[in-house]
Symmetry: C2
């Protein structure tokens, strides 16, 4: 049972077995100097934990030079193991279930790496639903019960991991997430942060996959009852949902109001716009304005573009709505729109997943800590 080592026992029982096992003796030798970082990305649908090798290139005894040898877009970190579990948003599944999921997924990643908690230098847990310092404090306290006191612990909102997945761990710039929902988050190097949107559909996240799809459904109803122009969305959506009349859309939405179910219509809206439908096209143009305005609000509040408004800053773009594999490229249009106000915007489509971004955040925190320690020693 390699995948689930902890069946009827305690989550961390495998460590004792690993330490005493002769089979693992060679491996133990091999990895006894191995130090790792755990990065976790906990969303509402799944939780991913990666275990990455922390390479100490401390050749000239000045630790902060590690930074130059650390991961970069061209040199991604070495991932020893990856484990996946279910939802760990405490708002959705409750505190106890969320904790157990997080603890098990970390144990699994370590077990797969052939390591124990003794190898862990730092843990960065980026979970959705962490919005206040009280959330951070509560989760950090609980992590302290699992790891020894010298392990560095970082607890963040999942948007932070998304940003770091694009900047390779550097906390600076803006991230725009647009999947089922949408949110823009920004961070400055001196630790200030701001967000825009991300408040759910009732509170106007209109650039999201849900928002775009809901407006498409509305357009079908309006075309049907005479309030709006005819649109190719009607035949397309009725066909996809296997309905015979727009009247039946009312029942369809009442049946199951989940946002994700409605958001799945997003790609059909893009197809209709690509095929030249004016109504679908206008919905996407509106979405572009909405998404760009979230980013612009964050950039403005944080002064990310500098005093002259022309400084460079990274914009990490994450989520299905922003993927550039379509002719009608929403992400590209959003960038065009932002560039008009902030020509220094530098778009990044991350090459690593958010869990790796979380691990890289911890990596950078460690480096910064090491710089500070060295600075103190020099003083």
């Amino acid at each position: 049972m390699k995948k689930r080592p902890y069946r009827n026992g305690e989550i961390w029982d495998f460590e004792a077995a690993m330490m005493s096992s002769s089979v693992n003796h060679h491996k133990q030798q091999q990895y006894q100097e191995q130090k790792v970082i755990l990065g976790l990305d906990g969303g509402t649908s799944s939780t991913v934990c990666v275990c990455i090798a922390f390479i100490d290139n401390d050749s000239n005894n000045r630790r902060f030079e590690m930074m130059n040898d650390g991961p970069s877009p061209d040199r991604p970190p070495s991932i020893l193991a990856r484990a996946v579990a279910g939802c760990s948003n405490h708002n959705s599944v409750g505190e106890i279930a969320a904790r157990e999921t997080l603890e098990r997924v970390m144990a699994e990643a370590l077990y797969k790496s052939g390591l124990t908690r003794a190898a862990v230098l730092a843990v960065c847990l980026a979970v959705s639903g962490v919005d206040h310092p009280t959330d951070q404090y509560r989760i950090t306290s609980w992590l302290k019960q699992i790891f020894s006191s010298n392990v560095k612990l970082f607890v963040q909102n999942d948007s932070v991991a998304a940003l770091a997945s694009g900047t390779m761990g550097k906390l600076h710039g803006c991230v725009l997430i647009a999947g089922t929902g949408t949110i823009a988050y920004g961070y400055t190097e001196d630790g200030r942060e701001a967000r825009a949107a991300g408040a759910g559909p009732v509170l106007g996240d209109w650039g999201s996959g849900y928002g775009i799809s809901a407006q498409a459904l509305t357009a079908v109803v309006r075309a049907h009852d005479g309030r709006g122009p005819q649109t190719a969305l009607t035949d397309c959506i009725l066909n996809v949902l296997d309905l015979s009349s727009p009247d039946e859309l009312i029942g369809w939405t009442y049946e199951d109001p989940s946002w994700a179910r409605i958001a799945r219509l997003f790609s059909y809206v893009v197809s209709c716009a690509e095929a030249g439908d004016e109504v679908a096209n206008n919905i996407l143009l509106d979405a572009v304005q909405e998404l760009a305005s979230s980013v612009k609000a964050v950039v403005k509040r944080l002064g990310l573009s500098g005093e002259n408004g022309r400084d460079n800053f990274p914009l990490v773009m994450v989520g299905g709505v922003l993927e550039g594999n379509k002719r009608w490229d929403i992400g590209k249009e959003v960038i065009n729109c932002i560039t008009k106000d902030f020509p220094g915007v530098f778009p990044i489509h991350p090459k690593v997943e958010p869990a790796v971004g979380a691990a890289l955040l911890a990596w950078n925190f460690l480096i910064r800590q090491s710089r500070k320690d060295d600075a103190l020693e020099i003083d």
Copy 2:
């Protein structure tokens, strides 16, 4: 137990007791010739049944002249009793519970009138959730098990009763309902009908109390995160909801997503607009356009304004959003907007409740039936 005569027994047990009771003997004599119509308005929050006296002014033996002596805005019908029960929308409470509620509320209205089913000439049941002929057929079949075969039965959507409450039973014109939700319904004298909106918030009922309130909440979030202009709605709504920051609105909406809860903020949006807030003012102007467009779509599809577009037609206006007791009078602005396209629009604010409208519908059906019978006799 005057209010609930049917405690542990059958719903209609009171009739046998009424027939045999000596106390009721005089009353029986008095009402033995009394004929009545039951009108029911069944919504998602409550069900109302009125029992109205049908006066047969058949002095010159030509029954259709009753019409001239029937109810009018100046001469409302005589209401013998009124009974109220809970929800009777079969989509909300299920078929069995909906039926029991409707049967009990009819029994109560008759009991209060001191009458039995023998006095009933016609029943008009106007319930929300009746959208297809199959719904009408199912409910009519069940009513046939309660009443004798000579009782005329009419089953309609609740919007029809709202229209009839303004036209005193005449099925012609348009009705605009704007409370928590919104819908426009129209009917022509030759039996055609059309509707617009009424599809729920996901499908864009933006002129409703819910729509206006959701846009106000969105405006507060946008002002807070920098996407939109500052607005007096922020202080007003945070104060009403006892919250200290717009961030807390996210939790507030997730807590209980019921439309009615959000729609209750409507009157505060009006207050802010009246006090000169530009953002609140624009939300109401948008709502006016939305509501007017629903009516215009229905009028256009049915040709209610005639070939020259200038014919008169009634527009019955129902619901909290359209009430004219405010300085910022949404109903009046909606009429102004419709008048530009259809100068023959004639607004009506009903003086009787929808259950009475339902009863008057049945009254008019009876009259028409009587005309036809007479015509056949003459032929």
